[in-house]
Structure formats: C-alpha cells, structure tokens
Symmetry: C2
Subunit: 532 residues, 2 copies
C-alpha cells in the first residue's frame, strides 16, 4: 500500500479553478494563444487594448467574472456594466437579449465573449458576450445598493453590502496598499513588527473610557461569586487595549526598534466624524534614542514614504478622480491633492508649544477661546497653526507641551531661563482641516522620575479584582499596581527611548478625502452602532 | 513675519541621534572614513570582519548600543557579553576595570572602542572599549533574567522581561519576518489585505466560549437599566470575534480575493499547550472559486512560499541552532528540520475523510478510540494519518468530512453511489506532531440551502438585548437573527467562494520548535492568566 498515492489521485488534484490563483494565469489572460482563459480582473482587462490589426479575423476570446452594476435594455441587446471591485470604471458588455436571463443588478456572473474595439466614447473596448453564466442570482427589485446616488448615511446602515459600491471597493484596496507600504517601510529600517496584546490589565489611567472583557458564560452574579473564590476567568478585571505603547516599550527593550498596526478601543460616548470605538493604531517605538527629533524624523519619513509609494497607485488615482466629480461625498480634489503634496513635501516645520502660543496670542482676536499658556490647544488654534505655519499644506510638528496636560510617561524637559515652565518632550503632528493626526514623545526612562510622575497623575493605584477589592501582591507586602510591570521596565537597563502613535483610519480618511471615519472603516463601531 | 522659519530654527532641526534612523547610517557603520558612528546593531557589527592588514595602525572605531548579558571579571579587565536582540550571539567587549562602573547584568549601555581581531576561539573580533556610557543602570542582584538556564514556566511569570532573553528576541524577529513574507505573498497575488471587526454581534453559534464587551462605566445594574431604555453602549450584547471569516466573505463580494492577519478570541477554560484566549488568525477568502482544490492550492502555495522565504533568514538559522543544543526547550533539530522540509515539499497528499477512515479501520487495533465513520478524528487518528500518508513530514489535506461534525456554512457535497453519506466540501490540514494547523471550506453560497443548514444547526435565532429580551426587527415583523446580515450576502449576487483559516501563533510554534503556544506569544492570555 502506498497511501500517499491516494492523495494524488484525489478529485481535487485536477480541479478546475474559476478564479485565478497562479500569477502565470495573469499573464495568460493577455496571451492570444490561450483564449477562453478566465481573466484575472476587470481592471486588468480594461487595460488590455488589442488593436484592430491584431484581431481582425479572430478577436480574442475572454472570460470574466463580476457583478452586474447596471443594465440598459435596447430592442435586441442589453448593455451591461460589469464590475468586480478592481476598478471604479465598469466593463461594458453587450449581450443578446436571448442570453440575458438572470442579468439583473447585483447578480454575480461569468461572461464569455470577444474583446473588441468599442464604437462608444466611454470605453476603448467592450465585451461581445457569447455565453452568460449566472453564478449568484440577485433579486434586483429588493437589492438595496443601486447605481443612483445613495447618501453615506443610508449606506452606513448596510455595512455588509456597502463594500460592493465601487467607491468602497477602492477604499478597501487603498487600505491594503497602505498596509503593504508600511510593512515595506519598516522592514527597510529593520524595525520588528509586533503584536501587542488586545486584552490588557491596564484601564488606561482609570479614565473610564475603556471596555471590559468577560466570558459570556460568566454572568455578573457568577463573576462576583467566582471572583471571591479567585476563580473568575482572568482572576481580575481586564480591558480592551487603548494603545499598544506600553507593551511596545517592553518589546523595544528586546529587539530595539519595533512597530505595530493593531486594533485599539475607546468606549467614548462621543458622536463625531473623527472617533470610533474600535480603530487601528499605527505605533512605533525606538530604542536607544535620546532626542525627540529622531522620533519626528521617523514619523515624517514614514508618512512621506507612504504618500510617495501610494500616490501613483490605481486606488489613489481613482479616489482623486472621484473627488473631482461634482456631487461627490469626498473632499474637493484641490484639497485632497494639497494633502498628498503636503505629506510628500521634503521639510515640515517644527515649532514648540510656547512658540505656537506666541503666534496665537498675537492673533488672539481671531479665537473664541483666548490662548493661554498651559491650556490644551483647541481645534480653532490647531487650525490656525496648520494654516499659518504649515501654509495650509505642510504638516506641522508642535513640540514640548506643558507637562500637566500630557500623559504621565512623557519625559520632562529641563526648565531653562527662557522656558521656566514644566514641559515634556512630546509632539503633536497637525495637518490642515483634520488637525492632530499623530502624537509622540520621549518616554520617561528613569525609575524614580517615572514613579513621581505616576503619583502626581494618581496612577500608582492598587490592582483590584472584579469586586473592586484590592489584590495583595505575591509577598503580601501591600497593593500591586496594574502598572507595576511598566515601572519594572525602568528597574533593569532602560535606555532612553521614544515613539509615536497614529490613528490609521484617520490617516486613510485624510488621504482619501472621505469626510468621516465611519465611512473609511468597513464595519464601524461607535456608541449605539455595532452592526454585523 | 515668516512663521515657517521658526520651525527650521527649532532645537530639533540639528538633533543628534543616538540610534540609527537613516539607512545611510547603516552603511556608514562599515565605512572606515567615518569612525565613531553608532553601529546599527550587534548582528551587523558581528558580521564585519576587517582583516588585520586593513587596520594595522588604525583599528576602526565604533560605537554600539546594547544590554549587558554577562560580565566576567579578571584582574584588570572585564569581559562583557553585549546583546541587543539582533542576534543570539553576543558581542565580546573588553573593558578596563577603571571604566567598568555600572557595567552590571541587564544594564543598557553604549560602548565606544576599537573593533579588532580576537585571540579567543568564540569570536573573530572583539571590542576594545575606550568609553562606557551607562544609559540605563541595572541592579544586577535583583534582575530576574539571568544568563543561567531558567525554565519556560518561570520566564512565563515575567512576560514584560522575558522578551529580553536572546531566544525570545529571535522569536520576535521570526514573527516579524513571517508577517512581512505573508504580506508579500498575498500582494503578489493581488489579494486585498483587510481589517475585519474585532467587536461583533455574533456569539459564535451560541457555543458560549466567547467574551462579551461592555464599557467599564456600565456596571451590570446600569447595563440592565440602560438596556431597558435601549441605551446600553451598543444597544445589544456584543462579543469579541472568534474568526473574521463571515466578515471576510462580505468583503470578498467587494474586491474579490481578500485576507487578514488579525486577533481572535476564545473564552475556553482549557489549559493546554495549544490554546490561548487571544491569538492571531490568518484567514483568506477567494471569490468566484468553485472548487475546494483552489483553496487547498492557495493554502499550500502560501505555506510553501512562507517556508522558502524564511528558511535562510537569520532568525530561523538561530532558532535551528538553538534546537540543536542539548538541554534546549525547543523540539529537537531533526524534527524541526523535517517540518521545514515538509512545508517546502512540492506536493502534499490530499485524501478524503472517508479514505482516511478506511486507513484507520485497517489499523483499528492501534487506537484507543475505534474509528467510525461520522466521528471527529481524534488526535491519535490524525497522528496516524500524518505519519502514514504524509510520511511524518509532508502536510496532509483531509477533505470532505461528515456534514454533521462541521460548521453550518460549509457547502455540502452531492451524495454519490460510493459516498451516499452527507459530507461537506472542507479540509483540515494535518502536520505531524501538531495535527490540525489549518482548515478551510467552500462556503454555502445559495440562499435556501444556507437557511436550511442554519435551522438544522439551531443558529437562526433572534437577536437579544443585554437582558436576553428578543429585539424585534425594524418592521416589527418578528425576531431578527444576529446573522441576518450573513444570510443577506446570499440574497443578491453571491458567487461560489471558499477560504481557509490558520492559527498564526500555532504555525510559528510548529516552525520554531517552541513547545507551547504560551511561549511564542509575547503576552499570552489563557484561563487564569493575563499578565500586564
């Protein structure tokens, strides 16, 4: 018996493949010798423009999969617009009425036919269909996604169907290209890509805007009872992470420079175009770095690389073309172009918070809220900085904010004669219209100053079980803080280090021209909304 | 006033950089002209072997950052082993005792000196240190990570410090390389990388092994009260995703072939070496694919690409070298090598469940549990298949399992004369020792058969609010199922499609030789354990 032979003889060995799984086949699509091969995508087929000379007697035969976007009926033929998410532009297919059964809006079909020059002005070539296979029928009367204009608000009620609109397909491809570009950027700098945990012990400085995590089988009552027996699932309260930074710091003490693109969560009850309860954070941490300038250089280099590598991609070209259409829900083309050009600009201004305050105060009459040193910059202030310092195009780094309005882990500056107030080595990166798009800092890497800062911020608190009872530490020596482990990182060999965090979905909004973060994320979650 | 000029004059513009942020500097490290430039990593410096001819009078001066792994004291000098996570091997530094203050185990230091041939057998070159900067001191007496052997169980109690061991640094680099390789593979096949949601409405077929998500500010009481007012955070119970598959199916109806590497969660109370409560799933979904063979081809091609692209990387070579050491906690070298060679093998056997049952029944005396058609394969059975069909090396696809032991969404096979029993178009991918490493299927893409299957599996259930009350649908026409949206995908143009899911951490275990999944994840979470 040679059991391995069983496998080779299996029914799958010679399996015919509908789609395209081998790069070879992408090429074959354009080879005249092999006709009737399924073409990999509408986008690729639209690029193929065989001249009439090539095809005079023998037009190339192709097979293409896709969804019917619209059907226009003439006397004996139908004009079918076919899309498959690979391009905004549809493919025009001409189908004899006798083959058109089941060619309804939304249907998933496979069309075979000749790829020939089109007399129409809208396309160079069109498909003269000889065979129609309806792979997934659609009841067009009830299909909620229609070719006519549909508001973003309406589409948002259908997150499972919304990706099928050509614009949303382009946004999905844009996101994918952006992830690949970032992966390439960080690999070229030998940053290690990591997966910090999602379920964590830290409740984010007790701010309360976190989600807790409990097994579904543990009702509140059970959890209480079990907790008394020290038998709840994780033995103490656990939360969804609000940022991977603290864990990244631990990992950067292992492999040096690290980054991640991973989900983060906030249980904010705010109902704005800029916040979601679930979002992707792009975070990086640099080790053995003693100057905030290096962290800003990294942020700037990364965003510039991303912009340059994506600007000429099909998805971005399509999004820009959509921006230019009247009645588009995207930001106007000029504005979106300026955003890209700003990111590609070779030098971005850097000013301190104190310098920024000076500028604001010289123009105090422009603002509803009077600019005062020590305050958080309001949206109106950030907009002014972005316009006056960045010229409404370049991103602007604002650095060295007052200590008391920033996070406990940021490293303080030495007070000087010019700047006697307590500030920290941090930056916000401001861009026009959207304002803060990224933030970073040097981290306090010294043990005692960190502990002092935590006390000042009221963070050195005991760990508590699900009933709110203090958990004694292993030695029974008193309360254990949820962040003891973070303090530990400073106990044994903590080099100077710093990093940044950037809201990935917000960045994609900014560069695509999408006006709200709810429309850049396929399945957005915010207060009151978590469909599917 | 030209405010932009402010930025250029800022204190950060000329910032001195400790670490290396520009690729240029990587090169400069090896340029003789520019001495005293910080070298990018211990790994790079160890590769640099200037010959004595080059350096006779003027040995190259370098600066290197890292952590002290060990110190050996001689009369007037110290031998310091320096590591920075970039290599298993440390760098040997020789420091005059008068400069050695603060050079304690664990300390983060910056060493400057001459890079010269070493008389020792363990290294070709060593650093003769002229300057020591202690950037982060370490109290060596209390530092829990010691150079001597420490058990995996002990290290697991210190997840925030464990990454600092050379082995764990290599595992982090291995994970990073694997992510980059997968990104490259899928980009080359024009698969779109996506981010399916983490918080979902589906409780995974009601199996109960899910985590629920609630805002920390919502106590159970409040949640109950608020829910009655339809005012709980998400208005109904929400869960952490157990798999992105259902959402990937929606996205594949937009852009065709899609994939994701994202977190998934199970609230299993099992305490094994193969399960975590939080883990990364690699999932892909192919659209317009009508044959399970294509899904297996993709799985196989991906794993083969991954293995080939990683096998010669530094991290993998280091892990293999560690496997070969006696007393290592990793699987033996021969075994790990066989795993890599199996994945790189150009053809993997494929057999049906029914064929597998035949093999098992011929050897029934070998098993504790008698092999019977319709049963789930037990670990002993899977091991036998992996050994007898895959020769203990090649991965083996087992296909077409009985319908009743598989998920509701799998597409049924047509019963035939030889196979009259109800089976579904699915596969498990078995590898020696670890058994199932991936699973995939064709999805039921037809509306009514899917609804029938959901009824049969008891899944078509009404949506419930946090109090367990049924939520009427928008029309008031009766209960809304949590999976109505998934059924909707079949209503309008659902092409044949299929995909697979693979436990990413488990795969990394398999290929690294790490014996438990708790040691491949930096911050592992399982029942009773969620540190940091």
């Amino acid at each position: 018996m040679r059991p391995a032979a069983l496998g080779r003889a299996s029914r799958y060995s010679q399996g015919r493949v509908f789609g395209i799984s081998h790069p070879d086949r992408f090429r074959r699509c354009f080879s005249h010798e092999i006709s009737q091969e399924t073409c990999s995508s509408v986008a690729k087929l639209l690029q193929w423009k065989p001249t009439p000379d090539h095809v005079a007697d023998n037009p190339p035969q192709v097979v293409i999969n896709g969804f019917v976007r619209s059907v226009r009926s003439m006397k004996s033929i139908r004009f079918v617009a076919l899309g498959d998410g690979s391009s905004l532009a549809p493919l025009q297919a001409i189908v004899d009425t006798k083959h058109a059964e089941g060619l309804t809006v939304g249907a998933a079909v496979r069309l075979s036919g000749a790829w020939v020059s089109s007399p129409g002005a809208s396309q160079s070539h069109e498909l003269h269909v000889s065979k129609v296979e309806v792979l997934g029928p659609s009841d067009a009367k009830t299909f909620p996604i229609q070719k006519k204009y549909q508001t973003p608000e309406f589409l948002r009620t259908l997150p499972h169907l919304r990706p099928r609109t050509p614009l949303n397909a382009a946004l999905l491809r844009f996101r994918s290209d952006a992830i690949a570009s970032l992966t390439q950027f960080f690999a070229s700098r030998t940053f290690t890509q990591t997966h910090p945990p999602i379920i964590t012990s830290s409740d984010c400085e007790g701010a309360g805007e976190v989600f807790t995590v409990t097994p579904a089988t543990e009702t509140a009552d059970q959890a209480n009872t079990d907790a008394k027996k020290d038998d709840s699932f994780f033995r103490s309260k656990k939360y969804l992470t609000v940022s991977g930074q603290l864990h990244l710091e631990a990992l950067s003490q292992s492999v040096g420079n690290v980054w991640t693109l991973s989900p983060a969560f906030r249980a904010e009850r705010s109902d704005t175009s800029r916040h979601l309860s679930e979002f992707y954070m792009l975070e990086a941490e640099m080790s053995f770095v003693d100057n905030l300038g290096a962290v800003m250089d990294l942020t700037e280099d990364m965003l510039r690389f991303l912009a340059k590598s994506l600007y000429e991609t099909a998805a971005v070209k399509e999004l820009l073309s959509r921006s230019s259409q009247s009645g588009s829900d995207l930001a106007p083309l000029d504005e979106v172009r300026r955003r890209w050009e700003g990111l590609m600009d070779p030098s971005w201004p850097r000013i301190t918070y104190t310098e920024a305050l000076g500028l604001l105060q010289k123009n105090a009459e422009m603002f509803t809220e009077k600019p005062t040193w020590g305050m958080n910059l309001q949206s109106e202030h950030e907009k002014f900085i972005a316009m006056s310092v960045g010229g409404g195009q370049k991103p602007v780094f604002v650095t060295d904010y007052p200590r008391d309005i920033k996070a406990f882990y940021m490293r303080p500056n030495q007070p000087t004669a010019e700047q006697p107030n307590a500030t920290v080595e941090c930056f916000d990166l401001l861009v026009p219209e959207v304002c803060e798009i990224a933030g970073g800092s040097m981290r306090e890497h010294r043990l005692e100053p960190l502990q002092d800062a935590m006390k000042r911020h009221g963070i050195l608190k005991p760990a508590m079980d699900v009933n709110g009872n203090v958990i004694p530490d292993a030695d029974g020596n008193g309360p254990t803080s949820n962040l003891d482990w973070y303090v530990d990182l400073r106990r044994w060999g903590c080099p100077p280090h710093g990093g940044f965090g950037l809201g990935f979905d917000r960045l994609l909004c900014y560069l695509s021209g999408v006006q709200t973060i709810r429309d850049i994320v396929a399945f957005p979650r915010w207060v009151g909304r978590c469909d599917c």
